[in-house]
Amino acid sequence: MQLESFLEHSAARHADKIALVCGDRRLTYGAIDNSCNQLAHALIAARVERGDRVVIFLDNSVEAVRAVFAILKAGAVFVPVNPTTKPDKLAFLLNNCRAKALIAPAAKAAQLEPLWPLTPDLKSIFWVGDAPAVPVGNGKSSQRFGAEGLPSTPPANKCINIDLAALIYTSGSTGQPKGVMLTHLNMVSAATSITTYLENQPDDIVLNVLPLAFDYGLYQVLMAFQFGGTVVLERSFTYPHAVLATAVRERVTGLPLVPTLVAMLLQMDLSRYDWSALRYITSTAAALPTEHLLRFQAHFPQTRIYSMYGLTECKRVSYLPPDQLQRRPQSIGRGMPNEEVYIVDEQHRRVGPGVVGELVVRGANVMKGYWELPNETAQRLKPGPLPGEMALYTGDLFRMDDEGYLYFVGRKDDMLKSRGEKVSPREVENVLCGHPSVAEAVVLGVPDPILGQAIKGLVVLKQDRPATVKDLKYHCSQHLEDFMVPQLIEFRAGLPRSANGKVDKQALLAGMANQREGGFSNPPVTGGLENPPSKDPVEQPA
């Protein structure tokens, strides 16, 4: 089964059902399927071929949803990129996957102009909005992302289920993003497992405020199309009350959240809204402090709350059944349907209950690897029990209790999670060090009640090269996505070194733990792990 069949089957069964609500636009399955067929023909006419990568650089919108399915119907691979990505990183991503086409907002045409001479493999740009008058040149065609005059019959199917459907870039500890290769089979399998444990039905209406460039947000659309429900798509959670008013008006039954949004919601007066239609809430991407989880459940007594864990490399790993929430709120549950999880020691041998080790996942949802990065792939995918099978070594440390419930302990590398988004300290350090006044920089995570972890940069300036905190934050904002820009920057005369000459992060974290830290005026909330084995104050659950 191909991923685009989610849309095609639902369109065949309920052509007139509203599939997507976005602002004041309401689109049926039939209308979306027809327009995606047309847009697929447009891509094919621009010589997008089977297996070609097409980057989607859009905000959450009708066009972004159409782009996903148009690319799949053309037999190509969609690459969703966060719309706050800055031009230099976008150029890197376009070149890294040798994207053939880019779908971007016309409003960004001027900002993207410097990219055209730098991206030789990119042959077509499709603009959402009025195509800019400024020509693109450089051997590239430029056109509006539109369906006019194109057939609404589906293009011939070219792929099989083990072909790639998507490439989703994820941050790595080396600072370079890695493209997670996902086949149709990977994505169909993951979506099926998830909709099974969430018990989704066609009458579910899901509100999505998460970026479609993030697999958690993307799958809200994919899964809703699979079970024939409705997605209410919001651009962001910037104006929370407007979003909640929409949720209530549309009688939304499902609300996927990240812990940052849970924390924000807990500061609002939720009793003013009628939540009677809300069947379930989900939370993943970072650890949900136990106190927040329990307070949240108290606000929504009729709603099932699913605390979950996953990673882009396999979409999702586990979920805590809601009826276990009171009993073991710190657990992120057991493996989802059609998947096996286990914990191994340093020699890759399975360990028993209570022993901390690395979590390993096997299942049809496990990625095929990182795009053109065999070494990095070999660190995460290792042979599983069957010949030719690759199991995913998550890089996360867990322990299991006697009944197989998982408890997050820490990360093996020093990746951070801020607002539920993965942040590579190295990537931020590289950017800081790119500023002419910076001699050295180290980036750490500090606990924050809303962000999960706030990003803190400790910077040593060059002699006679003054710079302010604001100068450095501005510099970062020009090269990093919003959620990666440090909230806190501190200047230091020097950085402590450990015996091997590297910056001693442990010493820095220990020093900071002795002070009151935090990005917001609320005191840090307690909660999280029971019996954490490490006293490291920054090792927050991911």
Binding site: R235, S236, T238, P240, A242, M268, R272, Y474, S521
Partner: protein
């Protein structure tokens, strides 16, 4: 308006590009403020202008541009003055 402009430029644009920010430019459209930014903005407005902003007032119509922010703050201050008057009358 100037105080508000200064705060937005300093905190969300890191001191740069203030001359390119029009009074009517939508923060949402321009990607200038996100959900955590709105919280900071509200804290600033409440402290700076001694007003209390209600949850339901956190909507684009009130907050999504410099001009809208200025109008919203002016309206809240007028509301506050109107609420104070009966107390003055009562004393007389």
């Amino acid at each position: 308006m100037q105080t508000i402009r200064h705060f937005v430029v300093e905190n969300f644009l890191f001191g740069q590009g203030g001359d390119r920010l029009g009074d009517r430019d939508s923060f949402l459209e321009k990607g200038i403020i996100d959900s955590t930014g709105v919280l900071e903005l509200v804290t600033f407005l409440e402290k700076q202008f001694q007003i209390k902003i209600l949850d339901e007032e956190l909507v684009p119509d009130n907050l999504d541009s410099l001009e809208k922010l200025a109008q919203f703050v002016a309206a809240k201050q007028a509301e506050k003055r109107a609420a104070a008057e009966p107390a003055i009358l009562a004393k007389m």
